[in-house]
């Protein structure tokens, strides 16, 4: 049974994704770390689907759809910001800091 190992691996991958979001400032790499976290969640869904039925795999399908939509809109925002500021470094994007 691979349930325990799969859940452990997905926990590790999710933590690495969180770490990446916390320690990087490049908006695109933060985006990649978000994808990494979504991927870890997908691994959890698939691992539990093996025990509890295929509904988990259907949810992975939905997660992938949302990830694709999120990537498209997110990159549109990043490109729009880059036109104004000539940077994707989050340190220089402090309009909301007051």
């Amino acid at each position: 049974m691979l349930l325990g190992p799969a859940l452990g691996v997905s926990a590790v991958l999710f933590t690495i994704g969180v770490l990446g979001v916390l320690i990087r400032r490049n908006a695109i790499i933060i985006f990649m770390c978000v994808e990494l976290m979504l991927n870890a969640v997908n691994l959890t869904f698939v691992a539990l689907a093996q025990q509890l039925g295929t509904d988990g795999q259907v949810f992975v399908f939905f997660v992938m759809t949302v990830a694709a939509a999120e990537a498209a809109v997110g990159f549109a925002i990043i490109i729009a910001i880059y036109r104004h500021k000539e940077t994707v470094d989050l340190q220089n994007l402090n309009l909301l800091r007051g």
Partner: protein, 171 residues
């Protein structure tokens, strides 16, 4: 044997994720993320999710990662001279918070599903033989989850329209 293959790809996935987070160049990060996604696809196959594994390779490491690389090259961010890592203070805070997340996840993942709702061993393999690897997912996707499935089409349409509106220049 199965477990050995699983662990090899688990290590590849974790190593790729670590390198993805720590590389300075966004292109290198994206390529290491693709390594992680492929290793995860192998784990999906070992967990009897063949259709999801194919989707992972086509949609994730195909379409979405091409979008990443496309934007990196469009904005010409390929060679970063200075690192974009936070300073030691930010790193320590990040590490502490990461350890907390890891501990919480450790508690959650140590819980196994109760035996009453658990399928008999090899049930998914039997279903795949009966209905096909795609059929067993499509069965509930087009019946139980028909409404969410239709709503995702609206989500994708909104995402496409939103991306065009956000990224286009002033006319």
């Amino acid at each position: 044997m199965l477990e050995a293959v699983f662990w090899v790809h688990a290590i590849i996935a974790i190593g790729g994720a670590l390198l993805c987070v720590t590389r300075r160049s966004p292109v290198a990060s994206a390529l290491w993320l693709i390594v992680t996604l492929f290793a995860t696809a192998v784990m999906y196959v070992l967990l009897d999710a063949h259709f999801i594994a194919a989707l992972q390779v086509m949609v994730y490491s195909g379409a979405i990662m091409v979008l990443f690389l496309f934007v990196i090259m469009l904005l010409n961010l390929g060679d970063q001279l200075a690192t974009d890592m936070k300073g030691w203070f930010g790193r320590v805070i990040g590490l502490v918070l990461g350890v907390f997340v890891a501990l919480e996840l450790w508690v959650i993942t140590s819980v196994a599903p109760v035996d009453q709702i658990r399928l008999p061993a090899g049930e998914l393999v039997r279903m795949a033989a009966d209905e096909g690897a795609i059929g067993m997912v499509a069965q509930s996707l087009y019946t139980t989850y028909l409404l969410p499935f239709l709503l995702t089409t609206i989500l994708l349409l909104a995402a496409i329209a939103g991306a065009v509106v956000l990224a286009k220049r002033r006319v």
